[in-house]
C-alpha cells in the first residue's frame, strides 16, 4: 500500500476492483465503512461476482475476469475526453510533458521492437529523447505530438464505452456511471482510493492491471494524498515483509537486485546503477544504491567483505535467467533437473497451478523438506487419498522430512502489514512437543553445513564458512538479535560528510536510519528500507502509543512503518507546486518557507524547495511515470490482452490474443485450451471465502464447521443449461485436470455478453485438501494453467477455461 488501512477513512470514493476486501480483509474493510458513514464516501465494486463487498457498494458493475485493463483504459479515455484531469498535478508531478523517442509506436497489439522467436521486445525506442544537456527533453505546453500525454491519448482512444462493453461484458450505462463517479475525483479536493489484491495480480498481465489504475490515480492527482493511493491489500500476514526482505530468486533485501551473469564484477554491476537524475536538481534517491548494497554485503559477510575483494561481490550467486520463480522451479523439477526442495510454511501441492504437474514434479525429487506448524498436503504428496490425491506411494522415491515449527503464538518478531507497518509480536504459549522456531531450524542446518565443509571441503565454501553469524547462541539466534542486524549498525565511526569533525554514529552503535549508511564498509545493514526499525531508541516496531493528532489516521507512534516511519508514500505530492495542501481539509505535509512538516514524515528532503525538487524522489525524473520507459517487459503503457485461455478472440487486437511476452514452457503450451474453445466453453475463476484462510483454516474446527466442503458456484442460467441442481454433484474439468464438487447455484454470478457472445462464469473457491478437519476436497489448482505474469510470473489463477456436467456420486 502507498497508504494504510487507517487512512482509508479519509477517502471520498473507494474502488474495489481485483479484490474483495469485505470478505478477504474484513477488519480492514471497516475503514471503508467509516469513510462511508463519516464522510459520505461512495463505494464502487467491479467484479465478476456480486461479492459481499458489492453487497454494500453504491454501484456494482460486473466484468469478465481478465478484462480489467480495457475497463481502466476506458476510464482514462473518459477522463481525457471530458477534461476530468487534475492538470496542475499531471503537469508538475508526472512525465506527461516528456518527449518520447521517434520510432516508438503501438500497432496491431504490439509495441515497437517485438521479436516473435524470443517472445521479447527490443525496448530501445521506449524511452525519452535526451537533450544536449544530458537531461530528458520536455514540452510543458503538451503540444508536441510525441510527448507522453499525446501518446497516451492516442493509445487509449480505442477503449470507447462500446469497446469496454464488448471486451468486459459490462453494460455501457454502468460503465459510464462509474467513469463519471471516478472522474469527479480529478478535483484537488476529492480523492479516490484503489483497493486491490490477487484479483489483479493473478493474470498473465497482472502487473499492467495495476499500472493502469496507478496511471488513472496520477491523472486524478490521487497519489501521495490522504484517502488516495494504490493500495495492494496483500495476502498473507507477512507477504509484504518477505518481499521487502528480498526472499525471491532475483532480489537482495530492500528491492535491490541479485547480479546477473552479465554483471561480471562489482564495477559492471554498479555501472548500470548510477541513477543520474534525468532532470536538473532532482533527488534520484537510488543514487545511494552503493551504500545500501555494500552495507548489505557487510551484513552478510562481516569482516570477510573487504574493499580488496569488492565486499565479497563474487560470493553472491549470479543469475543466468531473469527469475528462478516457482513456475520455473517446478518446470526444472518436472524435467528431473532438481534434487532437493524446501517448503517453509508453504503448500505448493495445493497452491501452484496444474496440480498434476506439481505432484509429478515432487515425485522426481530426491528429497523434500517441509517446515510447517501444520500437517500439509505437500508433506504427504506421496500418500493415496482416493481420487483427490490419486498416487501410488510405492512408485515415489522421494525422501520426505516433515519438521514441526512453531506458530505465531509461540514466536517473537515482526510482521509487515500491507500498510508497511512493522509490528512486533510476542510469544505467549509453549510450542507443542518438539516443535521449534524456524530460526532455530535454519541455524541448525547452517551450522551443520558449515561443519561438513570445514571437515570435508567441497564446492566453493567461502560464503558458507564466512557467513556473519554473530549470535550469542549460534544455534538459536533471537528475534531481537536479527532485528538489529536488519536495522544496521556502524562498524567504524560514521562522520558527517559535510563536516568531518562531526561524528554521526559511534562505532558499534545501531544506525538511526539508512541515511547513516556508507559505501566504504564502515556500516552493515541487512535491509536498508527497514533501517530505523530497531535503533538506539530501542525496538520501534514494539511501540504502542495510539496518539493520532487531528485524527489523520497516521498513528506515527504506533509500531514502525518503512521507510523511516513514513505512513503515506509520495506525501510531498499532497501539496501543490508551491507546497500548500491541495485540499486544506486533508493537509498532510506543507512547506513553511524553510522546511516541510506536518502529520507525516515528509517524503522529500526536509529543506528541498517545492518549486525545484519533484515529489517522486526515487525516480531520476523526480516525477511519476505515465509512460514507464523500458521498465516493464510488456510495454510502457498497458494494453488489453486476453487470458491465455479465453472464451473470446481479443476484440481490441485480434492479431495478438494474449500477452506477447509472457513466458511459456513448451510442455504447457499443449495444455492450453484454444480461444473460444467449444470443448471448454466456460470462463472459470478462483476465489477465497471469508470463513477460510488459504489451506490453514481447514485445520481449525470453527472454520471447518462454517465452510465444511468444497463447492463450485455457477449462475442459474448455467445450471439450467447443463441441468445442474443446487447441491448436486458436478464434475468440472479443464485441459489439465478434473475436480468433483457440490454445485452452488446463485444469483451472485450472471452470464455476461462479451463481443456478442454469452460468457458463463464458474467460480471455484480454494480452501480444501486432504489434511485437517474439514471434508476432503479438491481445489482449483487441479485445473489452472501453468503460465505467469510477463513481469513477475504470478500464475494466471483468475481466468481459465473449463467444462462442467452433473454427475452421480454417493454421499460419504
Amino acid at each position: 500500500m502507498t497508504n494504510s488501512w487507517t487512512d482509508i477513512r479519509n477517502t471520498d470514493l473507494v474502488v474495489i476492483m481485483g479484490g474483495n476486501a469485505a470478505e478477504a480483509h474484513p477488519c480492514g474493510f471497516k475503514w471503508v465503512t467509516e469513510a462511508k458513514a463519516n464522510r459520505g464516501a461512495k463505494l464502487i465494486v467491479v467484479d465478476p461476482r456480486y461479492t459481499r463487498s458489492a453487497a454494500v457498494s453504491d454501484v456494482y458493475a460486473p466484468i469478465r475476469q481478465g478484462a480489467d485493463i480495457a475497463f481502466l483504459l476506458g476510464v482514462i479515455r473518459y477522463c481525457i475526453e471530458n477534461d476530468k484531469v487534475q492538470w496542475d498535478y499531471v503537469k508538475a508531478f508526472t512525465n506527461a510533458a516528456y518527449i518520447v523517442k521517434d520510432g516508438f509506436a503501438f500497432e496491431d497489439g504490439l509495441f515497437t521492437g517485438y521479436d516473435e522467436k524470443k517472445r521479447d521486445y527490443d525496448k530501445s525506442t521506449w524511452d525519452y529523447v535526451i537533450g544536449a544537456d544530458g537531461y530528458a527533453v520536455v514540452d510543458n505546453s503538451l503540444e508536441n505530438p510525441r510527448c507522453v500525454w499525446n501518446l497516451l491519448k492516442e493509445h487509449v482512444s480505442v477503449y470507447t464505452p462500446e469497446m469496454v462493453e464488448r471486451v468486459c461484458g459490462t453494460p455501457k450505462a454502468k460503465f459510464l456511471k462509474i467513469a463519471e463517479m471516478i472522474a469527479e475525483c480529478s478535483s484537488p479536493t476529492k480523492t479516490m482510493t484503489s483497493m486491490y489484491a490477487l484479483g489483479w495480480t493473478q493474470h498473465s498481465k497482472g502487473s499492467q492491471n495495476i499500472r493502469a489504475m496507478a496511471m488513472l490515480q496520477l491523472i486524478l492527482g490521487n497519489i501521495g494524498v490522504r484517502g488516495g493511493g494504490m493500495n495492494a491489500l496483500r495476502g498473507h500476514s507477512n507477504i509484504q515483509g518477505l518481499t521487502d526482505v528480498g526472499l525471491m530468486s532475483n532480489l537482495i533485501p530492500g528491492y535491490m537486485n541479485l547480479p546477473t551473469e552479465k554483471e561480471v564484477d562489482f564495477d559492471a554491476y554498479m555501472k548500470t546503477r548510477g541513477f543520474k537524475p534525468l532532470r536538473p536538481g532532482q533527488t534520484s534517491y537510488w543514487q545511494n544504491y552503493k551504500k545500501f548494497f555494500v552495507s548489505f554485503l557487510k551484513s552478510m559477510y562481516g569482516a570477510a567483505a573487504t574493499p580488496a575483494n569488492h565486499f565479497a561481490y563474487d560470493w553472491l550467486p549470479k543469475l543466468d535467467v531473469p527469475f528462478y520463480d516457482v513456475l520455473r522451479a517446478f518446470e526444472l523439477m518436472h524435467q528431473g533437473k532438481m534434487t532437493g526442495y524446501f517448503c517453509q510454511g508453504f503448500n505448493p501441492l495445493q497452491s501452484f497451478p496444474n496440480r498434476k504437474k506439481i505432484s509429478d514434479s515432487l515425485s522426481k525429487l530426491k528429497f523434500l523438506v517441509v517446515m510447517d506448524p501444520l500437517d500439509t498436503e505437500t508433506a504427504r504428496f506421496w500418500e493415496k487419498h482416493g481420487d483427490i490425491n490419486d498416487v501410488d506411494p510405492a512408485k515415489i522415491a522421494t525422501e520426505v522430512y516433515q519438521l514441526p515449527s512453531t506458530c505465531f503464538a509461540e514466536d517473537d518478531g515482526s510482521l509487515t502489514n500491507s500498510g508497511r507497518w512493522l509490528q512486533w509480536h510476542w510469544a505467549g504459549g509453549t510450542a507443542p512437543a518438539e516443535a521449534k522456531r524456524d530460526t532455530w531450524i535454519l541455524a541448525q542446518l547452517h551450522l551443520r553445513l558449515k561443519q561438513l565443509y570445514r571437515e570435508e571441503g567441497g564446492a566453493f565454501a567461502d560464503p558458507i564458512l564466512n557467513l556473519e553469524w554473530p549470535y550469542a547462541d549460534p544455534g538459536d539466534p533471537t528475534a531481537e538479535e536479527i532485528a538489529k542486524e536488519i536495522n544496521g549498525k556502524a562498524l567504524g565511526v560514521v562522520k558527517d560528510p559535510a563536516d568531518p569533525t562531526k561524528v554521526l554514529v559511534e562505532a558499534g552503535k545501531l544506525v538511526p536510519s539508512f541515511a547513516a549508511l556508507r559505501d566504504d564498509g564502515s556500516t552493515a545493514c541487512g535491509c536498508w528500507i527497514y533501517s530505523g526499525c530497531f535503533n538506539e531508541n530501542g525496538n520501534n516496531m514494539a511501540r504502542r502509543d495510539t496518539t493520532d493528532p487531528d485524527n489523520t489516521g497516521a498513528y506515527l507512534k504506533w509500531a514502525f512503518a518503512w521507510p523511516v516511519n513514513r505512513r503515506i508514500l509520495y506525501n510531498r505530492a499532497s501539496a501543490d507546486i508551491n507546497g500548500k495542501a491541495w485540499d486544506p481539509s486533508r493537509k498532510l505535509i506543507e512547506w513553511d518557507g524553510a522546511k516541510w512538516s506536518g502529520y507525516d514524515v515528509p517524503d522529500i528532503a526536509p529543506t528541498a524547495k517545492p518549486n525545484e525538487v519533484g515529489p517522486f524522489i526515487m525516480n531520476p525524473e523526480g516525477v511519476s511515470r505515465l509512460f514507464v520507459r523500458g521498465m516493464m517487459r510488456d510495454g510502457p503503457f498497458p494494453a488489453h490482452y486476453e487470458p491465455f485461455e479465453s472464451p473470446v478472440i481479443n476484440p481490441v487486437s485480434p492479431r495478438m490474443q494474449s500477452n506477447p511476452v509472457a513466458r511459456i514452457f513448451q510442455d504447457d503450451l499443449r495444455q492450453f485450451a484454444k480461444a473460444g474453445s467449444t470443448e471448454f466453453p466456460f470462463a472459470a475463476t478462483s476465489y477465497r471465502l471469508t470463513e477460510h484462510f488459504h489451506y490453514w483454516t481447514k485445520h481449525v474446527r470453527v472454520n471447518a464447521v462454517l465452510q465444511p466442503e468444497f463447492f463450485v458456484e455457477i449462475s442459474e442460467e448455467l445450471a439450467a443449461l447443463r441441468k445442474i441442481k443446487l447441491g448436486g454433484w458436478v464434475r468440472v474439468w479443464s485441459k489439465r485436470g478434473s475436480v468433483r464438487a457440490k454445485a452452488v447455484v446463485t444469483k451472485r454470478i450472471r452470464p455476461l455478453i462479451c463481443d456478442g457472445k454469452a460468457v458463463h462464469i464458474v467460480g471455484i473457491p480454494l480452501h480444501w485438501g486432504f489434511t485437517g478437519v474439514a471434508k476432503e476436497g479438491f481445489g482449483p489448482n487441479a485445473l489452472t494453467p501453468f503460465v505467469g505474469d510477463a513481469n513477475i510470473e504470478t500464475p494466471e489463477y483468475k481466468a481459465f477455461l473449463v467444462n462442467i456436467e452433473p454427475i452421480d456420486w454417493p454421499e460419504a
Binding site: 477488519c27 500476514s237 507477504i239 518477505l242 526472499l247 517453509q344 505467549g428 504459549g429 564446492a459
Partner: protein, 199 residues
C-alpha cells in the same frame, strides 16, 4: 464516581470474588450483588496477557492471548483464550471469522509435534529425532551442492550458483526469520528461491 467500567475491568473484578463488595461500594443493591456472586469465576483471571497479531491476512489485526503460565518467567504456558486487541488502531478489537477462531488454530489436532521422515517408496511417516533429521538433511544438501554447484559459466565468469536445490519461503513467518532464511539460503549459493507473494 467514575462508573465507566470497561467490560474487562468489570468481569475481572467480578471473577476475583470481590464482586459483592466492589459493587456494593458502587451503590448497587444487594440483589445485584447476589447476582454477581452467582456468576461463575471469570476464566481469564490469573492468566498472562500477551500482545500478538493475527497471522492470517495482512490487515494484521492486534490480538491479546491469555495463557495459563507465563513464558517470560520460564514457565510452560498454555494459551486458553485469544481476542481482539481494543487498543489496536487498525482493528480496534474486532476480529473476522478467521481471527476469531485463532485458538483452534493454535490447538489444532493437526499441529505437528515431532520431526518425521517418509522413506522412499514408503506409505507412512515415521518418527525421527531432530539430530538425525538435521544431520541427514545437511548431508543431502552438501552432496547435491558438491555435485552440482556451478562456480563459473561457459565464458569463465564466476557465477557461484546452486540451482538443483530450491527453497520456498513462507509468508507468515517474521521478518527476522526471513532474514535468517535469506542468509542461510544465499550463502549456500541457492537461486531457486521464492515466496508466497504470488499465490
Amino acid at each position: 464516581m467514575n462508573m465507566d467500567l470497561s467490560r474487562r475491568q468489570f468481569l475481572g473484578t467480578a471473577g476475583a470474588g470481590l464482586a459483592g463488595g466492589a459493587l456494593g461500594a458502587f451503590g448497587f443493591g444487594e440483589i445485584e450483588a447476589a447476582f454477581a456472586d452467582s456468576i461463575r469465576p471469570f476464566k481469564l483471571v490469573n492468566t498472562t496477557e500477551t500482545r500478538n497479531t493475527c497471522p492470517y491476512c495482512s490487515v494484521a489485526c492486534g490480538v491479546i492471548m491469555y495463557s495459563k503460565g507465563d513464558l517470560k518467567k520460564g514457565e510452560p504456558a498454555e494459551i486458553i483464550h485469544i481476542e481482539g486487541d481494543v487498543d489496536h488502531p487498525t482493528n480496534r478489537g474486532t476480529l473476522c471469522p478467521k481471527g476469531a477462531a485463532l485458538l483452534d488454530f493454535v490447538k489444532a489436532e493437526t499441529r505437528l509435534r515431532y520431526p518425521m521422515v517418509r522413506r522412499p517408496g514408503s506409505d507412512k511417516f515415521e518418527r525421527i529425532s531432530w539430530e538425525q533429521a538435521l544431520d541427514r538433511i545437511a548431508r543431502l544438501m552438501k552432496d547435491d551442492r558438491d555435485a552440482n554447484f556451478i562456480a563459473a559459466n561457459a565464458d569463465g565468469v564466476t557465477v557461484n550458483r546452486w540451482t538443483t536445490t530450491g527453497f520456498l519461503a513462507a509468508s507468515a513467518t517474521t521478518n527476522e526469520t526471513a532474514f535468517a532464511t535469506y542468509k542461510v539460503v544465499r550463502s549456500a549459493g541457492m537461486v531457486v528461491f521464492d515466496n508466497q507473494a504470488r499465490v
